[in-house]
């Protein structure tokens, strides 16, 4: 088994096509996870147990089942109910929902971390609940959460090869179809690893910066 640089050069453009899809899926998935997580966290804080309990159950359910199973469900089972999503959309929804349940915990911790006095002060100033959330609580809760959220997004990025199971032509699937066509695994799969490593390392450097910038609670 020998390494063939000419083959690497030849397959590089195809792999870069795959990287693009991988990055798009991660970015869209991250946005969705950030929104879904916030909604779950806020709803779960509701004092009305009829609202908070079902949401808690749904979140635990999603967190307790494998992402791959959820992807299969969204892609292959939902069409039976009349919902046919394109592979990428199905993948982004799968990633977003799954990671949304994790980011919800980050939000919860961040919101709980805001001192009680802030809530009481908001009430004393006669602020509406909306004003309290958007003007008082969130601006204080969000910055310390940013590094933890980014951490989940990097984890999500490394889970995107699962999307190849639902025919998304992302990096892993491109590499597999190259391997299938040329009977060589060593170069395509090594390159996949290298791409993920490089992007992860760059992201981790960014994460360190975010931690220094926002991580301190004062």
């Amino acid at each position: 088994m020998e390494w063939d640089w000419a083959f690497v050069v030849q397959i590089l453009p195809t792999l870069i096509e795959g990287v693009k899809i991988t990055i798009i899926a991660t970015l869209l998935g991250s946005v969705l996870a950030a929104i879904v997580g916030l909604v779950i966290a806020i709803v779960r804080r509701s004092k009305n147990r009829l609202i908070s309990m079902p949401m808690g159950f749904v979140a635990e359910f999603i967190r307790g089942t494998p992402l791959l199973v959820q992807l299969y469900f969204i892609f292959y089972v939902l069409p039976d109910l009349g919902i046919t999503l394109s592979p990428l959309v199905a993948g982004v929804i799968g990633l977003g929902l799954h990671y949304g349940t994790y980011t919800a915990e980050v939000y919860r911790a961040g919101i709980d971390n805001v001192a009680r006095g802030q809530w009481e002060a908001a009430k004393a100033c006669n602020l509406s609940p909306l004003q309290t959330w958007t003007q008082i609580i969130m601006p204080q809760a969000l910055p310390p959460m940013i590094p933890a959220l980014a951490n989940y997004f990097i984890a999500m990025f490394k889970e995107t090869p699962l999307l190849s199971a639902i025919t998304v032509l992302e990096l892993m699937n491109q590499a597999r179809s190259i391997a299938n066509y040329n009977y060589r695994y060593i170069e395509p799969i090594t390159m996949v690893g290298a791409f993920f490593l490089v992007i992860s390392i760059v992201s981790v450097i960014g994460l360190r910066w975010l931690e220094r910038r926002y991580g301190k609670i004062d």
Partner: protein
């Protein structure tokens, strides 16, 4: 020697012996090794009638049945199958994960370069599975290439994927489908316009699906009839020759026809052509 040194010496010896055993076996060594382990490891795809895993886990299908019969005559009592993607079979064979591929992996020149094929075993033409009435009027892979919105599902690394790409269908319109059931489902859901497999596989799939809204277009125009053979590692030609010898006897005695014909394959087709012809075909 300290205990640690003993352990590392043992590990070194184990690594060395593993290395030696993974080297290409010479002449009858490969067969002797199979006899010693008592079974041959085959790669299959679970695509009836070529290869099939029954509900109880036993392996059948025309390919494994022929391989089992041939290996029995060679003194290897059984075959143990692992299910693999078509594209992963040849790399898996080269990596020593399988001893032989008997999965309806059709002979094509580039595959012949990568492995040692036996003489032809299972022959079949290509077919399309489409929605009832063939709304887009597909008759050949070129028709799909011409229609700018048409998508075709094909097994990853399979002959159909290659045929579609070679006919000029762009990569993003050739959807790699993991297995027959998903392909059928994706067609029914309208995710793909056609699903391409060999005729007998499609017929088997349609029979199981029992869906009046789909139909089979067979054979695909311009796509040749292909035959598979048992694929051995490039270096295992001695084992392949032994396999061929027994296979030729079985073809002559009619035993071969008795195995493949109940599955719907034509023994005549396999007898009428040779490996050399199929490997040279473009």
């Amino acid at each position: 020697m300290t205990k640690l040194q003993t352990i590392s010496a043992l590990l070194g010896a184990a690594a060395l012996s593993a290395l030696v055993s993974s080297m290409p076996a010479k002449a009858d060594e490969a067969l002797d090794k199979l006899k010693a382990q008592g079974f041959a490891r085959i790669a299959i795809a679970n695509e009836p009638p070529f290869t099939a895993v029954k509900a109880d886990g036993s392996v059948s299908g025309a390919g494994p049945d022929v391989a089992r019969a041939v290996f029995k005559k060679l003194g290897v009592n059984d075959v143990v199958a692992s299910i693999s993607e078509y594209g992963a079979m040849i790399p898996g064979l080269q990596a020593g994960r399988h001893d032989v591929v008997t999965a309806g992996l059709f002979m094509k020149p580039e595959r012949c370069n990568a492995v040692s094929y036996s003489e032809p075993i299972l022959c079949d033409a290509e077919a399309f599975l489409v929605k009832k009435g063939n709304p887009k009027g597909f008759k050949s892979y070129q028709d799909i290439a011409k229609d700018e919105k048409a998508t075709i599902g094909a097994p990853g690394g399979g002959t159909e994927e290659r045929l579609a790409l070679e006919a000029g269908v762009p990569r993003e319109r050739v959807i790699v489908v993991p297995d027959g059931q998903s392909g059928l489902k994706m067609l029914q859901d309208g995710r793909i316009d056609t699903y391409s497999l060999p005729v007998l596989s499609i017929n088997d799939l349609v029979k199981k699906a029992n869906d009046p809204n789909i139909e089979v277009i067979a054979p695909v125009q311009g796509a040749p009839v292909y035959c598979d053979g048992a694929a051995f590692r490039k270096g295992d030609t001695a084992l392949r020759d032994e396999f061929d010898k027994v296979l030729a006897e079985m073809k002559k005695s009619g035993e071969f026809a008795k195995i493949v014909e109940p599955y719907g394959f034509s023994a005549e087709a396999a007898l009428s052509t040779t490996r050399d012809k199929l490997c040279a075909a473009k």
